[in-house]
Symmetry: D2
Subunit: 379 residues, 4 copies
Amino acid sequence: MSARRRLRMGMVGGGPGAFIGAVHRICLAMDGEFTLVAGAFSSDPEKSRQTGAELGLEPARVYGSWEEMAAREAALPAEVRIDAVSIVTPNHVHHGPAIEFLRRGFHVICDKPLTTDSRRAAQMAAAVRKSKRVFALTHNYTGYPMVREARELVRGGKIGQVRKVYAEYLQGWLADPLEKSGQKQASWRVDPKRSGPGGSLGDIGTHAFNLLEHVTGQRVKRLYGKRSSFVPGRKVDDDAMVLLELGGGGNGTLCCSQVCVGEENGLRLRVYGTEGGIEWHQHHPNDLKIYWKDRAPEIRRAANGYLTPSARSLARVPPGHPEGYLEGFANIYRAFARAIRGQKDIEDSFPTVQEGVRGVRFIEAVIASSRRKSWVGLR
Amino acid sequence: MSARRRLRMGMVGGGPGAFIGAVHRICLAMDGEFTLVAGAFSSDPEKSRQTGAELGLEPARVYGSWEEMAAREAALPAEVRIDAVSIVTPNHVHHGPAIEFLRRGFHVICDKPLTTDSRRAAQMAAAVRKSKRVFALTHNYTGYPMVREARELVRGGKIGQVRKVYAEYLQGWLADPLEKSGQKQASWRVDPKRSGPGGSLGDIGTHAFNLLEHVTGQRVKRLYGKRSSFVPGRKVDDDAMVLLELGGGGNGTLCCSQVCVGEENGLRLRVYGTEGGIEWHQHHPNDLKIYWKDRAPEIRRAANGYLTPSARSLARVPPGHPEGYLEGFANIYRAFARAIRGQKDIEDSFPTVQEGVRGVRFIEAVIASSRRKSWVGLR
Amino acid sequence: MSARRRLRMGMVGGGPGAFIGAVHRICLAMDGEFTLVAGAFSSDPEKSRQTGAELGLEPARVYGSWEEMAAREAALPAEVRIDAVSIVTPNHVHHGPAIEFLRRGFHVICDKPLTTDSRRAAQMAAAVRKSKRVFALTHNYTGYPMVREARELVRGGKIGQVRKVYAEYLQGWLADPLEKSGQKQASWRVDPKRSGPGGSLGDIGTHAFNLLEHVTGQRVKRLYGKRSSFVPGRKVDDDAMVLLELGGGGNGTLCCSQVCVGEENGLRLRVYGTEGGIEWHQHHPNDLKIYWKDRAPEIRRAANGYLTPSARSLARVPPGHPEGYLEGFANIYRAFARAIRGQKDIEDSFPTVQEGVRGVRFIEAVIASSRRKSWVGLR
Amino acid sequence: MSARRRLRMGMVGGGPGAFIGAVHRICLAMDGEFTLVAGAFSSDPEKSRQTGAELGLEPARVYGSWEEMAAREAALPAEVRIDAVSIVTPNHVHHGPAIEFLRRGFHVICDKPLTTDSRRAAQMAAAVRKSKRVFALTHNYTGYPMVREARELVRGGKIGQVRKVYAEYLQGWLADPLEKSGQKQASWRVDPKRSGPGGSLGDIGTHAFNLLEHVTGQRVKRLYGKRSSFVPGRKVDDDAMVLLELGGGGNGTLCCSQVCVGEENGLRLRVYGTEGGIEWHQHHPNDLKIYWKDRAPEIRRAANGYLTPSARSLARVPPGHPEGYLEGFANIYRAFARAIRGQKDIEDSFPTVQEGVRGVRFIEAVIASSRRKSWVGLR
């Protein structure tokens, strides 16, 4: 493996106080696939420099803006410049840097939701197509081994034809007007200018939606949604509930909420088919409950030899040594790295710009349905 | 307690092969409040006699029809005739005997749903009012100690103002056309002539609905529903999903299904308020999970001294000795007995004809909403 | 079934304030097998009369002592006198009435532990043999459907040869000197004159021991034990831990404690063989976890069609409607009734005087080992 | 933070096929505290080179033996040579390199158990003392946030005086003679020359022992143990069970097994005091169950604001995003780094050579007790 080298990564966003930037940094490094060498960590150049220094980056590779970073990195010699960029900014600053870095020939891995509206989403999809570069979207929950096992079982027909889907993502952290306290996360996530029109929908609803389509391999074709803003004065939804119909004839519900006091990151998926069902919950991510028609339910556990090869490949440690959020997230980075290296490996997968486009359409469809009080089709 | 005697009970329905009749018989006897002394166990007089003999009843008190039973029991001396009747027939045979026995001065305890349509439901409510007799409806899940604890907490304001409710009752037993096999339960439950127009809605949806209103103390004021019949040829719904709004400003979902393969009797309720939340699931009925805003969640367990007096009063054995479905069901019977005896006890409660009326309206509202594809108000 | 009649039961013990007497009364009546018609409920005749009146018994059948009851009932006509007696007194009052009622030709069902020492235990076993009557011991946990399933699997060789057993019964109710408060249960259970020399050992240790031998079908052949009395001034053990060796070559631990604060009735059994393992806990008694060597663990659930016929036969309601402590206890009564009626049914079973003898020997062996600090054989 | 630089790490062991070496590499890098720059990855120089190449190390820093590495690294300029070394070899190759690297002034982090016997353990402790360097032992389970919370509660007296401890570590992977298949892990772990005399005791029993002393803050002062080798021909124990007495007056059991089929890495700790208790299980490591005397049990969850500062400091992501084995392990590395940097931080801690010495004494004491069949004191 002499030819292998660590890929050089740059980062847009992830400055002081950012939660998700730190997560991305741990995950890109976890498997030795990437080294962070450059960044435009904040729209405030001073903060960007500060973060770069804390991370031990060469000062010359720490930039005051993503525009500067794109231009300067592209001008560096091939053996020095970054291979890829990780975009971890608020939602309204995904579109610009993603298109620019792609245009300049860099691979891009971008936080979700893809962007704030479907027009921009389409532009990003076009940019990916044109660039022939790898674009990954960090719908990180698809990186959990037991989500992969669920997908293999459901797509492989093991539970028969899908009839019912119940997806939910429940949080409680915005039950009070936390945004008024100046808490950074809360502030931008409930500001439609930065988060887009969907609050809970964009932040967590799209995760549940992506998980549902990822595991079933089916598309939501129509939905009926109702959005709520329970906290007075809040400009975006902090709760939504959606009835949905799948392309294959099944139907179900998707609920997301940020006002369910006591819920942490309660992402749960249940799928029932004609022969069985699956149930998964993020809080105990290494367990997958499987229901069967005439047999007792099973609890499959991560890393065991009895899993599908695809699920097994996502584990780093033996059964019973739990892996969690960071490892699942890192699985997206690992797959992204392999795609950059040109590996063809059916066991690997990561969410692409297409999943991102669908996520944005989902937000818009729920908003439209909630406004019109009618079912809305989803392209 | 010299004045106390066991109350004499008659039964309508509960002949050979009936599941719920046997349950009622265990539960009426559990606390020594009632003795079964008479019955019209089947519309087939021979089957009625057979069941009566198996139960060791006096042959003279075993009747060939409920009409005969009502007339003949009423003619018996006061110290011999039944005090109350338990109606455990299919849904379409609740209305007739309930009104007749009430009219003749008997107390009535009746299986749910109350009846097949709201016109009949109103007639039954009127009959109760006029009779001045006790009428109880066996929405038995309200008899679980930890459901009671949840009600006390939620109604007592401990979790603040209710914002979100998620109720569900998932089964898998009708995932295949079991009714074609001649299975007795399945046959009548999917026959609209006997079950009424709501299949899963009547059988289990009304339980979830009742539980939701029971615990929150709020009324569903509007709903949007979608019914499905997944099994080809089935004439009633085997699945429904409902968006709902509560009188107090909260909202939520209610899902019921009989095609979720592997689910047994998955009745679950979650309620979130501004200060906390509760979660309960029938499969582990002695646990109540309580979420708090700034504290760790608790798991309250049945029969403990730290529970509310009301919840504590529903337990028969010490903490850690699990009580289940039959004990919860028997709690309804015990409360019914106490009401007949004229005891005034705030700790006691049981579902009444009013809850029954609401259940029937709920079924009709979901059917109407599902047909019209619009939100429907619920009186 | 015309020949069938309810069996007539008498009770010794179970007067005011007794917990277990009330349990026995619910359980004997649950399946319509027995009717309670007589009793000597207390050594205080007035209290006995009071309980008899509360239960609605004929005053003539309520006795001031068990000796009187045995003599007078035996003198009644065969079609009136009791068939069997239920002994629910403190441990030191099992031996006397059991032998006397057996001698007079009554069937006996007796609470555990059998008695206070092995000499008396042997006398009771001899009395049973001589009487040719049915004698059942209410090691009630063997009546749980999923304990039965575990037994069928383990004895049937499904988990291979048993290597490891971990049995435990943890409570916390005696963590403080509750006996000084006058609490009735606590008072006699920590009084060696009434409970025998083993406190926690007799009260709960024997249950864990019985469960272990019941499920494995093997005998503990040797043990090393250590008893403790954590609460100052307590005269019996409130905690014990035991290493044990099984006849079949396996070994394991048995722990019982009444000072584990917060534990309710934490009876748990785990058994591991060469091919799999089982795990059961009373708090969720309808679940049985089964481990397999090369497959995912299963969670078998009570009442399902996939269970062994023996386990299935112990359920009264459909899957997902939980049954609990009372139902498991009632299964012992039902099996006792069937034995009295002479039914031969391999699906039935109940603990006999032999299990009782072993339980007493177990207590004595742990006490001896703890004193001598050496391994002690168990006959 | 301009003065901060990544610490340079070397590794001894961790060549092809080693599980734990890969774990150490992920964990040392997770928080950006260390960079791996050198290694003697195998006693086979070719394998060492191969691993070094795969990891992208400079060939000059990849050595054919740890002796060579120690000598050559010590000779490098201070700004180039490693700061610390991570020893991840089989147990019999801890002692040599640890002493040598310490002697040459390097900090050392070493896998557990410390070494194969207490004489060597004492030599290592002396070497640490003399060197004035930081020495950490990767009893990694102490790095879990909720283990830390348990420690804070128990040591802080929140559950009162400790009475009972139940520690267990159950696995099933050695239920068959896997060592005969040539599986690398199995081979050395059951070879007393490489693992030391304790098989399961050294591999997992020491973890349970360390966890127990870590959380309670008490020392085991006496024990009675029984070792077993269930698999024919196995030269070390694959199972042990131990009764133990704590310095503070409590007692309990410790069980470890590698033949419990179906168990993965079932490390569980329960501690009960006079006022409450705690329960933790590795499979769901972000949950800590806490029992209270007169209140309902709590489930505290990692990363929440209601935790003790010490426990909170160990989380990298918000509540509900599970962290696992690698993150807990990385917490040891992070604390090690901080100690090297001279930070004084009461929130930090890691197991030291003293815990290692105790672990070796524990193994020897169980072996002695098992042989002599008597209680053995533990220094």
